[in-house]
Each structure stands twice: as C-alpha cells, then as structure tokens.
C-alpha cells in the first residue's frame, strides 16, 4: 500500500473515531444549589451512582445560602466557567431566560417532562412555550400550629375562618411569657409575601391577573386590614419573627421553642422543625389556610423549583448535564419507582412534583405533618411568574413589613403596594 493510501486510510479511521472519542472525553459538570450540607451529601451520592454508569462524567456540587443563590447564578452564569446546572425558583425563570442565561431543554427531555409532570408545573418551568428546566419540588403553604399551646389556651381545633384565627391568636398571646399568637416573618421576601398571598387567595383575591397587579381589590384590602388587626391586637410581634440569609433566625427559633403559637409556612421547613424540636416535633400540626370573609374555601400559594442548564456551558457539558438531570429526575434512579431527586426532596419534607414520585412516596406523604400540605395542593394557586416578579415580591415585602411595624395603615399599605406593583411590572414588561 502506497504512502498516500495509508495516509488516507488513517485519516478516514481517525474521522470515523472522532465522535466516539469526543463522547468518551472526560466531562466535568457542576451543580449549584442552596441546600444544606446533609442534603448536598445525598445529591453527591446520587451523582456518584450516576458516574458508575457514566465514568466519563464528573459531577461536583456547590452550595450557597438561599440569599446568595440568584446573585451567584447571575454573576457566574455569564460564562462557561459558571455552574453547569443550577437549582432555581420558578419566579426567576422569565428573566434568566430573557437574558439567555439558561438553555432550553432538548426535545427528548421536554417530551418526557410534559408527559410525566402536571401541566401547571410544566408551565411554570416554561417561557414562551419552551421548556427550560426539569421541575423537582413543589411547595405550598398551610397553617402550622403548636398543639400544646392550643391546649393550654383552651383552643380545641385549628381556626377555619379569619375571625376564629384572630380569636385564637389573641388567646395564644402571653406577653409576660414572651409568647406571640401568630408569627409574621420579616427580612425575607418569600417568607413575608407567601403567607400574605396565601391568606389573600383564601379570601378570593389575587396578586396579579393577566400580568396586571390587582392589589387594589376589596379582597386585598381586607387582607391588609386583617394583618393590621393582628398587629393592633398585639397578637403578632414582628421583633420575634426576623429571618436571616439562611431563611432561619428568630422566627424559627421562637416557633421551635414554643414561643409562637401559629405560623403560615411551606412544607419544606419540616426538616428545620425536626432538627430544632427533636421529639417535640410531634406537637406541631398542619391545617388549611383560614378562609377570609370574601372567600369560599381554603386556598394556598404554590411555587415550584427546577433545575436548569447554563446556556453558556460547552456543548458536551450541556449534553451531559441534561442526561444527568433526566436520570436524576427519572423514575428509575430512586427507590421503589421513585426518582433519586424525589428521595432527596422527601428527606427534607419537600413534596416532589413528578406524578409518579407522588405515587411512589404515598406512605411518607401521608404523615400527619405532610398530609396537611398534600390536602391543600389541589386547591393551590401558583404564585404569579412574571417578568419583574422578584422585584415585585421585594417591594411588597417592604410594604408588608412597614405595616407589621405599624409605620403605615392598612389603607396606605394597599395603595402603596398597588402603585409600586404597577410601576415595577410595567417597567419589567418593556
């Protein structure tokens, strides 16, 4: 064989092997989350499991406090060196997608997600009809109360209406003992806004309708007045309800130490309660959100989380990231037909959103604490996912905190919240 033919043959063999070589090339992907070290360890275990069948893929997990998650995503996702995968809150998606920081899901992944998750959850992970993330957790709000404190105050059942709620809060308040009836969280946007929004939707109100804020409604006015009433009664002490960057702090300390009778919170804080209370966690019960004067039945706000892939990551990294996420959230990676992701979520008391995961974890979801959340899931209303949503939340947080601290009246709070929301959402929509 002549030298020319040998060269041609070598070139042909080389070209034929090229895609295989590229596929077998080592790929490093990173996963950014806000989870605690214990949960990060579970995720790392799952990543190791995946790497057994995909030895060419190395996955590293990095965690930052919740308060720094969006900033880290925004500041690092502008380049290929940023995290390949990020766990994000659905409210952040429209702007991350607009700024082309997150990649649309490949067709196969999108088809799988559309078939295996409820339509509402899929829509929260989509922008303009394109799916951007694989949903994992769904959170709803419910009333948590301390059964011991209820017993001591002579309250027999969880309040079902706002009148009963206000009455129970008064009975649970013992100022001399440093005990408050209802804990209103502050210094954390979601902790302030979501409980308020849950009460608002249980009063037949809405935050945003068709992209326009509707905080000037009668129902919203009643909700602001309800908050003002609780403060004026002395049933809620804002100084006992401050949160820190890790979404813990005095509001959690006071509830776990039996200084707060009731609080409206999401299911994910089950693990924080268990850690803080130990055996006393059995004192905590869950009930639907009390219904306001204009409402017909209990509702709750829901929001979801998803994992997205950095649009600036290299092609091989993106491909490996979607493959890992499809496995992590797939029905074969966990125990008894559940996904590995849902096993991790359930360790924190977080509800998985994939339909088959809910079925697989039916027993655990039936525990006294979580069953209260599962029962309100069907009537939950998704928190509005709109451009400018985060700024809108932070602005409403400021207004509600000013109301909590008695700096403004309910009427002033309502007018301010509506005016600010109009200006923020109009600017974001441009």
């Amino acid at each position: 064989m002549s030298l020319a033919w040998t060269s041609k043959l070598a070139l042909a063999v080389g070209l034929a092997l090229l895609p295989g070589s590229a596929w077998a090339e080592a790929v490093n992907i990173s996963y950014l989350t806000h989870w605690s070290p214990e949960t990060v360890a579970l995720l790392e275990n799952a990543a190791k499991e995946y790497s057994k069948t995909h030895p060419d893929v190395t996955i590293t997990v990095r965690a930052v406090p919740f308060g720094d998650l969006l900033t880290t995503l925004r500041s690092q996702s502008g380049g290929s060196d940023g995290a390949t995968i990020g766990g994000i809150y659905d409210l952040w998606l429209p702007e991350l997608a607009r700024d082309k920081l997150v990649a649309p899901a490949p067709e196969a992944v999108a088809a799988e997600v559309k078939g295996a998750w409820p339509a509402g959850v899929v829509s929260a992970a989509s922008v303009g009809g394109a799916l951007y993330g694989i949903p994992n957790e769904i959170d709803v709000y419910a009333l948590n109360y301390n059964k011991d404190l209820f017993k001591q105050a002579g309250i027999e059942a969880a309040p079902k209406t706002w009148d009963e709620f206000r009455e129970a809060a008064k009975k649970l308040t013992k100022k001399d003992a440093g005990q408050q009836g209802f804990g209103m969280i502050n210094s954390w946007a979601a902790g302030v806004v979501h409980p308020f929004a849950s009460l608002l939707v249980s009063n037949a109100g809405e935050l945003v309708t068709d992209g326009k804020p509707v905080l000037d409604s009668k129902q919203a006015g009643e909700t602001f007045e309800f908050y003002e009433g609780l403060i004026k009664d002395g049933s809620s002490d804002p100084a006992m309800a401050t949160a820190d960057a890790n979404t813990t702090g005095p509001f959690l300390d006071n509830f776990v130490s039996g200084k707060t009778g009731m609080i409206i919170m999401a299911n994910w804080w089950e693990s924080a309660l268990k850690t803080g209370m130990g055996d006393k966690f059995a004192n905590i019960a869950t009930a639907p959100i009390p219904v306001g004067p204009s409402g017909d039945k209990p509702h709750s706000i829901s929001y979801s989380w998803m994992t997205v892939v950095n649009a600036k990551a290299g092609e091989a990294e993106q491909k490996a990231a979607w493959d890992f996420l499809a496995w992590l959230n797939g029905a074969k990676s966990g125990q008894n037909g559940a996904s590995a992701m849902s096993d991790i979520l359930m360790s924190m008391g977080i509800l998985p959103s994939r339909s088959s995961d809910i079925e697989a974890h039916k027993d655990k979801l039936g525990t006294e604490f979580l069953a209260g959340y599962v029962s309100v899931l069907s009537d939950a209303k998704p928190f509005p996912v709109v451009p400018g949503g985060q700024e809108f939340s932070e602005s409403l947080q400021q207004t509600l905190e000013a109301l909590q601290y008695g700096q403004i009246s309910a009427k002033e709070a309502q007018a301010k919240a509506q005016a600010d929301a109009i200006s923020i959402l109009e600017r974001a929509a441009k």
Binding site: G67, D68, L70, T71, R74, S75, G78, E95, D99, K100, L101, G178, N186, S187, W188, P238, A239, M240, A241, T242, A243, D244, A245, G249, P250, D253, N254, S257, K259, Q390, E391, E394, S395, Q398, E401, A402, Q404, Y405, Q407, A419, D420, S423, I424
Partner: protein, 296 residues
Amino acid sequence: MTNGYRASAGIMLAPAVTLIGVFILLPMLLTVWLSFNDWSTQTPFAEARFVGLANFQDIFGSTSVGRDFKGALVNTAIYTALSVAIILPLSVLFGLLVHQRDVGGGTLLRTVLFSTYMVPMIAVALVWSKLYSPSEGPFNQMLGLVGVSPQPWLSSPRSALISIVLLNVWQQVGYFTVLAIAGLTQIPGSLYEAATLDGANRTEQFRFITLPLLRRTLLFSAVIAIINAVQVFEPVALITQGGPVGSTNVLTYHIRRVGIERAQGGLGSAMAVMLMLSLIVVVCALFAFMNRKDDE
C-alpha cells in the same frame, strides 16, 4: 536636557499610569457611561441604550426605585456618621491608654485590640447575630441581670442599624487605635515636659498638645473610617438582608441587589455614581476643613 528628563520620567511613570488607567480610571468611566444607559448586566455593553438622565430621575423619583435608593443613601450616611463619631474618639482613648509607658500589659492590650480586626467578617457576623438574639442572646441575658428589659436589637427597624454600627465599631476600633498610637509616638516627649513645668495639667496637655499634633493622624483615620463605613456590605448581607423594613439596606447592598440580582445595570451604575460623588464631596470637605484649621 529638559526634554530628555521628561522623556525618561514619562517612561518610568508609564507602567503605573497605564495600570491605574486600565484598572481604576477605565472602570470608573465605564460606570459613569453606563449610568446614562438602560442596560442589563447580562448583556454585552453594545446592547446598552442611551437614556440620558432617566436613571438619575428614577433613583431620585417617588416610585419604589427612588424610595429604596434614597432610603439606602440615608442609611449609609447614618451608618457612616455614627461609625466615625464612635470609632475615632474611642481609638484616641484606647491609644492613650495603651501608649502610657508606665502601665504594664500595654503590648497585650494592643494585640487584643488589633485581633478583632483580623477576625473574618463571616465569623463576626455569625457570632454577633447570636449575641443579638432577642430571646436567647447573651446581650439580653446580661441586661436582664441588671434589670433592663430585653432589647430587639436587629429585629426592630429602630435599633437594627445601630446594632450593625456597634458590630462595626467592635471590629474596627483596634485598627484605628494602632493608627492613633502611631500618631502619639510622633509627638515629642519634651513638649509634655515643658508643659508640665509651665503648670499645665493632663487635660490641658491633651487639649493643647496631643489633639493638635494628632490632627493629621485623625484626618487620615477619618478618611479611612468613612471609606470603610461607606463600603459596609458583609454584616448586612449575612445577618439582616437589608431589613427589617429596609432599615439596614445600605447602598452597597442595594446596588448589588439592583445591579446583579435584578440585572438593572444602568440603574445600579447611576446609584454607584451617586455614591462615588457623595464620597468625593465628603472627603474633600474634610480636607478643606482641616486645611482651614491649619491656616488658622
């Protein structure tokens, strides 16, 4: 000869001037230019859209953008003024105590005072957030021992900013004490001996010798303390997140929220320009005041 001298001076200055130009002046000019543009921090500079003074109108307007900025500006001014007003006299007081040669343990005290400055802010923030805890914090427990009712510290909009100032004073006072000691060592001992012979008591010596001769040191300390205070970020980000009710929302934290979290680069740049201008005005006013005193 003169031209040759100029050329060699230019060549020698060029590396430093180039570095300053690229890493300091250029980013400053870029920030000023971006403040006149509508720009998302996630997009290339080429996509910035010129909007004239609109960003400045917004940050001084009556909408939530303006209210939040003005609130952050006022919080920063209060934080800075309180920090400087507490740190400088304390540093002189500690400096005088440590500087006394006839008192034992001065070196140990100096080391202890300076050690707070070396503790990382993350550790300081973690410890102080627990010290301030309204229900189980040691501060309230100690106050309880002397019959004072528990204070809300970080949980009240009225006391949260002051609580952060106290944390800052605790961490920074050691550094400024070392500066004060350095200034005190420059004052000749003969001046005090002469004053003593003339019948001046300790208070008069402090007023007419120590303070005037410490003026340059205090000016330097004041400028550094102001710059440090204006740049406060970590305790707010780690402990209060700007709350409650925006009472600890200082400018650096607010600019980070607007410019990075919300990606509103134009607005964030306009805020940064205002912060820079405020700092320049304050520092220039301080120098002008000290120069007038020198002339007098």
